[in-house]
C-alpha cells in the first residue's frame, strides 16, 4: 500500500470537492490511480484529455508510483 499526496485543480478540484488529500492506494501507475479516482468520484474526463505531473514535473501516465509521491492530474489548460 502506498500513500500518495494528491492535488486537484479546476474541473477536477470541483468534482472531487477538495484541493488536496493523502490517499492510500494499490495503484502502481498514474493511469491505474486515475482509473481508481474516476471510478470513485464524478470525473468525466478520460485520461486521454489529461496530463499528469509527479513530484512537480510532467511524466508519462505509465510512470510507476512509489510511496510518498506527489501526483497532480492536469485537465485541459486554458491560459492566455
Amino acid at each position: 500500500m502506498k500513500r500518495i499526496d494528491l492535488q486537484y485543480f479546476a474541473i477536477l478540484r470541483e468534482a472531487r470537492g477538495l484541493s488536496r488529500e493523502l490517499r492510500e492506494t494499490e495503484a502502481d501507475s498514474a493511469r491505474a490511480l486515475y482509473e481508481e479516482l474516476k471510478g470513485a468520484y464524478d470525473f468525466r474526463l478520460g485520461p486521454e484529455h489529461l496530463k499528469v505531473a509527479i513530484n512537480g514535473d510532467f511524466e508519462d501516465f505509465d510512470h510507476a508510483l512509489k510511496d510518498g509521491d506527489q501526483v497532480v492530474f492536469i485537465p485541459p489548460v486554458a491560459g492566455g
Binding site: 474541473i11 505531473a53 510532467f58 485537465p75 489548460v77 486554458a78 491560459g79
Partner: protein
C-alpha cells in the same frame, strides 16, 4: 523570466530590465479579459494555476524562444485569481536587434503558454452560470 502572479499586471513594472541600448526592437503582447465568449456575455473570470509547474514550464518556453530566435530578452507574466472585464490576463515582452525575430518570439511564447502551461480559466456569465474553458472550447459545466 516567467511568473504567475496574483497582482494586477497593470500595477507591475513588466518591462523591467528589457530596455537596453543594443535592442533595436521591442514587441509586447497584452491579453485582456473580454466580455463575450462563444456567444455568451462574460461578467468576470477566475484563473487558477498549478504555480510550481506553471513557473517551471513557462521558464522552459522562454528558454526555447531564446534558442530558436535571435532575441536579447523575453519576459512573460500571467495572472491568477479573479479578473474583471478589460483587465490584463497575460503579458509577453521581447527585445531583439531587429523586429522580425522579436515578433516571431513573442508569438511563439504566447502560443506555447496557452497550449502548455497549467493554468485554467473559469468564466462567469451574465446568465448566472459558469464554465471551465479549454483552448479549443469548453470542457463542461
Amino acid at each position: 523570466m516567467f511568473k504567475i502572479t496574483g497582482e494586477p499586471l497593470e500595477s507591475l513594472d513588466l518591462k523591467g530590465p528589457l530596455a537596453e541600448s543594443a535592442a533595436g526592437a521591442y514587441v509586447a503582447f497584452e491579453g485582456w479579459v473580454r466580455d463575450l465568449n462563444d456567444g455568451k456575455t462574460v461578467t468576470s473570470l477566475e484563473y487558477e494555476a498549478y504555480t510550481d509547474l506553471a513557473d517551471k514550464e513557462g521558464a522552459r518556453i522562454i528558454a526555447e524562444a531564446m534558442e530558436r530566435f535571435e532575441i536579447h530578452e523575453a519576459r512573460c507574466f500571467h495572472r491568477s485569481g479573479h479578473l474583471q472585464i478589460g483587465q490584463m490576463a497575460v503579458w509577453v515582452g521581447v527585445t531583439a536587434g531587429h523586429r522580425g525575430d522579436a515578433f516571431s518570439a513573442c508569438r511563439y511564447i504566447i502560443d506555447e503558454v496557452k497550449k502548455r502551461v497549467p493554468i485554467w480559466k473559469k468564466e462567469r456569465y451574465q446568465a448566472g452560470d459558469s464554465g471551465w474553458l479549454r483552448s479549443e472550447g469548453q470542457v463542461g459545466p
